[in-house]
Each structure stands twice: as C-alpha cells, then as structure tokens.
C-alpha cells in the first residue's frame, strides 16, 4: 500500500509556451475536471511537489530554471511534458533560441501530446506518471539503487 499514488502534488512551470497548454492545465483544476478527486494539488512549490508538469520548450532563458526546479524537488519525482512543444519543441523547434523539448535538460517520464493538449489527456498523463512514481519509490528504497536516485539524475 502506498500513499504516493493517492496524493500526487504537482508543480506547473510554463517554459516559453504559447499559454495554450497552460490554460488547459489550469482547466484541469476547474469544477469541470476537478483533479483534486485524485488528490492532485497544484502546490506552486518544488519542495512540496512530486510531479513536475512542464509546458513549452527549452530556450536559453529557462534552461537553468527548469533544471533548478527539478533539482529542488525531493525524490521520488517524475516529469510530465505537456504539449508538443514540451515534447520536441513543436513549431518552434527551428527557432534560433529554442533548443528543443524538455528532455534536453531533465529526464522526462511521460509525454502528453497535443497542441494544445486536452485536459483529459493531461489528466491521463499525470495518472500514467503515478505508476512510474511508484516504481521510482521502490527503486529509491532498495539499498542497491539508493545511490543513483540520491544524485537526482542530473549531471
């Protein structure tokens, strides 16, 4: 029995998104979708969060920020890249300042496609990430793997 799956707290970061996906992320909190049904809370503080929801692509300005937020999250943690920009850079991929999807900087566990991603698929992605979260917890607690997860996964 694990509590992790029943209480995923998210932090949402808008990395140079066009705001389309962000509106959809926020829509998940509205009475229409009400993600609090699953115990999901939008904390706004990486130190309390379990799931890092990123929209938009990596550029020079937010590269450090994304990395910083990820580092400040306590283990176990997962990253959900929402929208096609977060997955690969989308239509901005060829822009002079865009380096690509979120996975250029931090390891991404779930990709939610769409432009913009629909609330249903965002919720689906987050629920999918829960089992990965659980997996990571088991790994974290097994003595052999303890060292790996402690380092946070970034070099």
């Amino acid at each position: 029995m694990t509590y992790l799956k029943r209480s995923p707290w998210i932090i949402h970061y808008d990395a140079s998104s066009c705001n389309g996906c962000d509106i959809e992320v926020l829509a998940c909190l509205t009475p229409m979708y009400d993600v609090e049904r699953f115990g999901i809370v939008n904390t706004g503080n990486p130190k309390h969060a379990d799931i890092f929801v990123v929209t938009g692509s990596i550029n020079e300005q937010n590269r450090e920020v994304v990395k910083n937020i990820y580092e400040q999250m306590p283990d176990p943690k997962v990253v959900v890249a929402v929208g096609i920009c977060a997955a690969s850079g989308g239509v901005f991929r060829e822009c002079y300042n865009v380096s690509g999807g979120i996975d250029k900087i931090i390891p991404v566990d779930v990709y939610v496609p769409g432009c913009a991603a629909r609330p249903e698929s965002i919720i689906d992605g987050i629920v999918k990430s829960l089992s990965i979260l659980e997996e990571k917890r088991t790994k974290m607690n097994s003595p052999a793997a303890k060292k790996d997860t402690q380092s946070g996964g970034i070099q």
């Binding site: 509590y3 009475p31 609090e36 115990g39 706004g44 503080n45 130190k47 309390h48 379990d50 306590p74």
Partner: protein, 288 residues
C-alpha cells in the same frame, strides 16, 4: 482535578479526528465550489506520502524546529484536554508556534522569511483575544482550570457573547483561513509560495501537517468550553462554527497584514473587552 488519561486520549486520537476534520473541510470546500473533491481520507494519504518522500533541507536545524513544533503542540493540547490551567495551555501553544516561526527563519529563504514575519503578526493579532477568552471564562466560572470550566453548569456563552464572536474571528486567523491566510496557505495561489512551510519538505512537512491536526482539535475543544453546559449544543456549536469558517474561507479574498492586525485588535478590544467590562461591573467586581 486534572486527569492525564484525557491528555493521553488526545495524544492518541486527536490526529485521527483532526485529519478527518481536514478531510471534511476539503470535501465541503469542494462542494461549495461545485466540485466533487478529494476522498474523505485525503489528508491521511497526503501525510502518508510526505513520510515516503525524501527529506530536503536548507539547514539541518529545520528538523529540530519541525519536531519541536509538533511536540509542544502536543504538550499544549494534552494539557488542555487533561484539564490544565488555560493560561499555561495558551502559553505552551504560543511556544509551539514560535518553533514553527524559528524553523522558517532558520532556512534564510526569502519566502519563508516573509512567511515567518507574517506568522508573528498573526500571533500578535490573535493572542490577546485568546487570553481575553480565558480571562472571560475565569470571570464566569472562577477558575482557570479546564477541568473546572468543563464541569460548570453555567452557560458560559450567554455571559460571553462578545468574547465568543471575537474568538470566532481570531479562529479564522488561527486556522489560516482566507481572508487571513497570510503566512501559509493550503490553497494553491500564494504570493509568497508557501510562506513558513516553503522550505520544509517530506517528513518535516508531514510533522507540521500532523501538528495542524492537533491544533484543529485543540481549537475546537476551546469552542466546546463556551458551550460546556450541554454536550449536544456544544457539538452543534462546533459543527456550526467550523462550517462558518469554511464558508468564510470560500467567500473572502486575502487581506493585508495591516488589516488583519488592526481588525483583530479592534474586535478583541471592542467586543471582548466591552463584554468583559459589562460582566465585571454587573457582577460587582469579582467573586474571588
């Protein structure tokens, strides 16, 4: 007569009751907003999860302060339910909050630093009214001991209507309900991130959450004292009062600290003091 047994029962059962109260709170809040809301046991899941998480600290002393907060909250509550001296209970209660504030200061984080300052402002806003409530109960029952107040057959609330309203007002501050959720908030949108709790993660945050549950039960117990003459009325009063708090929480937006401080003091000064003064002169001094 003090009875440690009740204190022990409090220590064992209050987290369960407090967690349920928090769960009901979230459920009712969700319904008021037209949502389904989380399961009733969600607070327990949350805290269970927090203890599964990694502990991130800025400085190791944060562990100590979080633990002290919980321990002294327990002391204050246990003392209250064991029937101890009400003033001592209030002072122990303040002591535990000072530890929370110190924990926030210790991390040198801008957000928790401002949260700590605001928490202190909240403490000075509500403390006079809580002390005046204790004084009012003494004036009615001639005892500061909870064990004496609780067996008194006098309908305390009828003597202290102003004090009771003042107490409800500071209860909103104490429960960190909007419009007075200045220092930290259970809701998402907060200009200082999570205020005092920003730098507490995992197990430390879990301890703080449990301390909050203890605090809920203690504060609801305080409401009980006003209605101690009749158990059903008291329970009804607690339910109504808490419902009122949830309603206020969902209808008001956050105010500035200036308003919090001034309004709490004015209400305490006006309602509380005038109530006590009237009582004082009606009874012709005190039946010492």
């Amino acid at each position: 007569m003090m009875s440690p047994v009740y204190g022990l029962i409090y220590i064992l059962l209050a987290p369960i009751a407090g967690g349920l109260v928090a769960g009901i709170d979230r459920k009712i809040t969700a319904r008021m907003q037209g949502r389904v809301g989380p399961p009733l046991l969600q607070p327990f899941y949350d805290v269970g999860k927090l203890f599964e998480k990694e502990n991130l600290v800025v400085t190791r002393s944060q562990d100590l302060y979080a633990l002290c907060y919980l321990v002294f909250m327990l002391v204050a509550g246990a003392l209250f339910f064991a029937g101890g001296d009400l003033l001592l209970v209030i002072f122990a209660f303040t002591l535990s909050h000072i530890f929370l504030v110190l924990g926030a200061y210790a991390s040198s984080s801008p957000y928790s630093f401002i949260g700590a300052e605001r928490e202190l402002i909240q403490i000075i806003a509500y403390e006079p009214m809580i002390i005046l409530s204790a004084v009012g109960m003494y004036m009615v029952t001639a005892s500061f001991f909870v064990s004496d107040i609780v067996v008194s057959s006098i309908p305390i609330v009828l003597y202290l209507p102003g004090v009771f309203i003042g107490f409800l007002m500071v209860l909103t501050i104490k429960l960190r309900k909007s419009p007075f959720d200045l220092s930290t908030s259970h809701h998402a949108h907060q200009e200082i991130v999570k205020g005092v709790t920003t730098e507490f993660t995992g197990p430390n945050l879990g301890k703080i959450e449990i301390a909050h549950w203890y605090e809920y039960v203690f504060l609801l117990g305080f409401i009980f004292l006003f209605f101690a003459f009749s158990l059903p009325i008291a329970l009804l009063a607690i339910v109504v009062a808490y419902f009122l708090e949830i309603l206020i929480d969902n209808t008001f937006s956050r105010v500035k600290w200036q308003f919090t401080l001034k309004s709490a003091w004015i209400i305490a000064g006006m309602l509380g003091l005038i109530n006590l003064a009237v009582l004082y002169y009606l009874s012709g001094g005190l039946q010492a």
